[in-house]
Amino acid sequence: MAELNFSFSDIWPETIFFILVLYLFGAALLERRHIMFSGDTSMALCPILGLLAMASAVCTFRHESLMFFGSYRIDGLSQFFKILIAAGFVFASLNAMRQPTLRAKKRVDYFLFLAMSAWGLTILASAAELITIYLALELSSYSLYILIPVRSGSRGAAEAGLKYILFGAAATAIALYGLSWIIVDQGTTYVSALAAKSWSVADSPLAVMGLLCFLGGLFFKLALFPFHFWCPDVYQGASNETAAFAATLPKLGAVIVLIRLATLLKPGLEITHMLALLAAVSVTYGNLCALAQKDLKRMLGFSSVAHAGYILCGLVAGTAEGLAAAAFYAMAYLFMNLLCFWVVARVSQDGRNLEYDDLNGLSARSPILALCLAAAAFSLVSLPPTVGFIGKLWLITSLWGHGYDWLVIVVCVNSAIAIFYYLSLVRHAYTEDPRGTLPEGAPAGALPGPIALTDAGVLSQAGALALGILVILLGVLPGPVYSLVLEASKALLK
């Protein structure tokens, strides 16, 4: 373990993101000096390098190594999540390119922090030691603290940014505090060494408390109940495009760490019971709150509280199947939420927050966006044949028979609650007629009543279609991807 063991070929995804960050940093300084550093060039480079990072992660999928004295681990799971992070970054940066609430002179800085956050997350995917995890987590979070308030002329965004920083700082402090307890009681911070220790309250009460605090920090990122306060407010306050990023990629980071830490959790431990309880409450609370929302992003915020609970189910099971199911569901969550936010961002062409009524008649304005929104909504509620359904099927199948059968029932019954508000998306897009009509003699291109003008351009539809196809295709043919994830999580538990 005590070796540097550095191999450059294994960390290409991180390196590519690092190069991107360096370039954008340079561009932020030299934007006006050279065409190579112009805003457009730097924006275009983001998805391209993102794709490159994804490709390199795919190429290094089967690599296994332990670097930096055992604190940095390249394995199937880390590479799987790096693929997802890079893919998510590609879509999130494409999504953020047309951002009405972003001033032109801030564009390069915006993408700099976007890339830095993604870079932190790729490092997080490989971190196998608690302090490394902490550092990587903060690297990705600090960039987000800056991104959230960037929404021109919006006081709500400033408020959201403040909330995120305050809550985030508190959660971080608690996590650090917990970390110190773990070190005191267990004497190590390596996850692999920690996995061999006992985690029952009777044997090491201090460490269990410490782990709970440390998990609290992660649950904050994941927006799990009771660490969810920030989620709807931040989504609502941040611009649509920033919310799309903040709602998806950081969650992936939290999930990968939780999966690594799940090797500590055995079914029947007090802490596992606690997680099961949190999952059940989170799922129910998130869905019930989402029922009452009018603002689409707030609704998606509460829905992500519920989805955090679903993901936790796989960790509660604690088996290789369970961890693989959690990883798979994280992927499902990434794509279906990105798709949902993509459509929201396209429909709101002037960058304002949308309500359900703004979706009225979307099927006539843009059939493809409407169809993709329907796919995302049905995937979020886990109706077949979407990736959301298969993901949830595997979560509950892996959970059944490990003493948490009640949680399976809670999760399933919640679908029946959730369908109401997700169905509202489809209902407004397909069945409601557009509200209001154009007044007589209105200039061409005027907004028809209070409805937002939809961006139904080629790029907008192509992006939605790509994500939509992913959501359906991974739902119909989940086998190959799942096999890879299962192989990776089996290696983790070995």
Binding site: E321, S363, A374, F378, L383, P384, P385, F389, I390, L393, W394, I396, T397, W400, G401, G403, D405, W406, V408, I409, C412, V413, S415, A416, I419, F420, L423, V426, R427, Y430, T431, P478, G479, Y482, S483, L486
Partner: protein, 610 residues
């Protein structure tokens, strides 16, 4: 398990409409869309030609089996037996009827409508052909989306309410179905339906799985008191939506009972049979009575569906050959008859713009041929001799009388009610005093209407006069299923009866009599606190102790509260003790008269579970 087909006919039948939907979605003109969908539907019927090679023998035919997600044992498995092949024929032939009956009915968003129709056919055929539980569930749920859109977009004035109610009800039922599917997978290690149909599960497990199945299927059928979504959906849906709803969607519920509940949970089916029979009779009588009071033709037929499906579930849960034969026959009949009745209501709605009885009086004078068909299908609906409705209802009634005269007698008013409401509406429609002057829209049947009415009309009469051919198709499968059912329904009880031999004083209650039901249900529910079926097997040591305790308490004159009052003490004891939370109950039962040995063993059992 015979007959692997070289040509994947079921896959083709399932996915051809999906492929056609893709093409239709890109056609620019409404008329092209209509014609293309009609052509696709006719091709779909022709593609079903290889299904004629179906051999009248038990087991699944036209099998297809491809690994789907091997890590979870998911397979893409398709196949049909005598039960499902009829439903597939029904789904396939419903499609052209739907296209024709909405030719002029649907005026807006024509393309989306026909895409929905095609998608629905894919899902319908898939549900009946799937031999993998998850595959089944995929199609089962996928059907909801186009059906929802159909009601919500092309529906009547209250389409919003009706469509959401439909979606919420059916989805609520399916969520529990998913739990049952997962539980079956973990308990048996497979999603493959033919294997699951032969698997043996503990009674406690079957009990919960049956309840989960029941909720999903009873909502779909729909059985009283889960039927309230149906009239709303039927009345608001466009006529093609009503046709699919009546002809195919409702059959999925009864198909589920036949395919899943009976073979997979035989002991629980037997246990719950009195309840199911009671609910079925309630559906028959309630549906009939409410139908009698309707002023709206569509609502009337919707409630008559509740009653007719009551006959189907009744036939299924009588567990006799005639009963199940009648049930399947009735499923097919109801699909044909009620589907066409909804088409006819749609046709009359196009002429008078109302589906109220009072706005459609005296049609006999203006639309004689329309009334001819209405009369034929109406008469078939209440089982007039010579029509197919008669055969199905007669078989079910015969089985009911054979089972218990009282049950047969209770069903007779149901059959009479059917005649009453059909006569009521038909008389008014044919000879009532017209309230409005006939306009140019009041023309008799058009060519398209003739086309889709002639075939079903022929079937109604043909199947009524010569039902043998159809019975030959379904009987081998039924006999096979019932033989397997009868062989396995007792297995669990027999295993549980072994300990009760030590306790001869345990009262024997006739489980099939409805009177025993309330007591059995109450105590069963009281004895089963939480869903933890996996504990049932480990709890075996406890049951002996608990039963001894109960028996001893009965002998010593102490009023036995729990175990001895229920039909099957061994089973109850085992189930009561298996949940780790139930320690106090078990101790109480043992302490009531069992003495230290019994309570010791009970405690041990509980510890093992915990």
């Amino acid at each position: 398990m015979t007959g692997t087909s070289p040509f994947p006919v079921l896959t083709v039948l399932t996915f051809w409409p999906l492929a056609a939907a893709f093409v239709v979605a890109f056609l620019p003109k409404d008329s092209q869309v209509r014609i293309a969908t009609l052509i696709a539907s006719v091709i779909e019927c022709l593609l079903a030609y290889p299904l004629l090679a179906f051999r009248n023998e038990p087991g699944f035919q036209f099998l297809e089996n491809v690994p789907w997600a091997p890590d979870w044992g998911l397979t893409y498995a398709m196949g049909v037996d005598g039960i499902s092949i009829l439903m597939i024929w029904l789904s396939i032939f419903t499609l052209p009827v739907c296209v024709l009956c909405s030719w002029t009915y649907i005026g807006k968003r024509v393309k989306e409508f026909h895409v929905c129709l095609l998608l629905m056919t894919t899902a319908c055929v898939g549900v009946f052909a799937a031999l993998d539980l998850v595959l089944f569930y995929v199609f089962w749920e996928a059907l909801l989306i186009p059906m929802y859109l159909m009601i919500a977009i092309w529906g009547g004035d209250e389409k919003r309410y009706a469509s959401i109610k439909f979606f919420l009800y059916t989805l609520a039922g399916s969520t529990v179905l998913l739990v049952a599917i997962v539980a079956l997978r973990i308990q048996s290690g497979t999603f493959f339906i033919p294997d699951l149909m032969k698997a043996d599960f503990s009674f406690r497990f079957q009990y919960w799985v049956f309840l989960a199945f029941f909720l999903a299927f009873a909502i779909k059928v729909p059985m009283f008191p889960f039927h309230t979504w149906l009239p709303a959906a039927h009345v608001q849906a466009p006529s093609a939506g009503s046709v699919i709803l009546a002809a195919v969607l409702l059959k999925m519920g009864t198909y589920g009972f036949l395919r899943f509940s009976l073979p997979m949970t035989p002991a629980a089916s037997e246990h719950f049979a009195p309840l199911m029979i009671a609910i079925s009779i309630a559906s028959i009588l309630y549906g009939g009575l409410v139908a009698l009071g309707q002023q709206d033709i569509k609502k009337l037929i919707a409630y008559s569906s509740v009653a007719h499906m009551g006959f189907v579930t009744l036939g299924i849960f009588l567990f006799s050959k005639e009963g199940v034969q009648g049930a399947i026959f009735q499923m097919l009949n109801h699909g044909i008859i009620t589907g066409i009745l909804f088409c006819l209501v749609g046709a009359i709605y196009e002429r008078s713009h109302s589906s109220e009885i009072n706005k459609n009086l005296g049609l006999g004078k203006f639309l004689p041929f329309f009334m001819l068909f209405w009369g034929l299908f109406g008469f078939a609906s209440f089982g007039f001799p010579g029509t197919n409705g008669f055969v199905g209802e007669l078989l079910v009634l015969a089985a009911a009388f054979k089972f218990k005269t009282a049950i047969g007698l209770v069903c007779i008013p149901g059959a009479l009610l059917a005649a009453a409401y059909i006569f009521k509406v038909t008389l008014k429609m044919a000879w009532g005093e017209p309230t409005s002057v006939a306009g140019p829209a009041w023309h008799d049947l058009k060519k398209k209407e003739w086309v889709y009415l002639i075939g079903p009309a022929f079937l109604v009469v043909y199947l009524g006069l010569a039902p043998t051919g159809l019975l030959n198709v379904i009987t081998p499968a039924i006999e096979d299923n019932l033989a397997s059912f009868n062989a396995r329904k007792g297995l669990v009880s027999a295993a549980a009866a072994a300990p009760s031999e030590e306790a001869p004083s345990a009262p024997a209650v006739d489980r099939s009599s409805p009177a025993a039901l309330p007591a059995g249900l109450d105590s069963a529910l009281a004895a089963m606190p939480g869903p933890a079926p996996s504990g049932a097997l480990q709890a075996a040591p406890v049951s002996a102790g608990a039963v001894t305790g109960a028996a001893a308490s009965g002998a010593s004159g102490v009023p036995a509260s729990g175990a001895s009052a229920v039909p099957d003490p061994g089973v109850r004891g085992a189930t009561g003790a298996s949940g780790s939370l139930k320690a106090p109950d078990v101790l109480a039962a043992a302490d009531a008269g069992g003495g230290p040995a019994a309570s010791l063993s009970a405690v041990k059992g509980v510890e093992n579970n915990g």
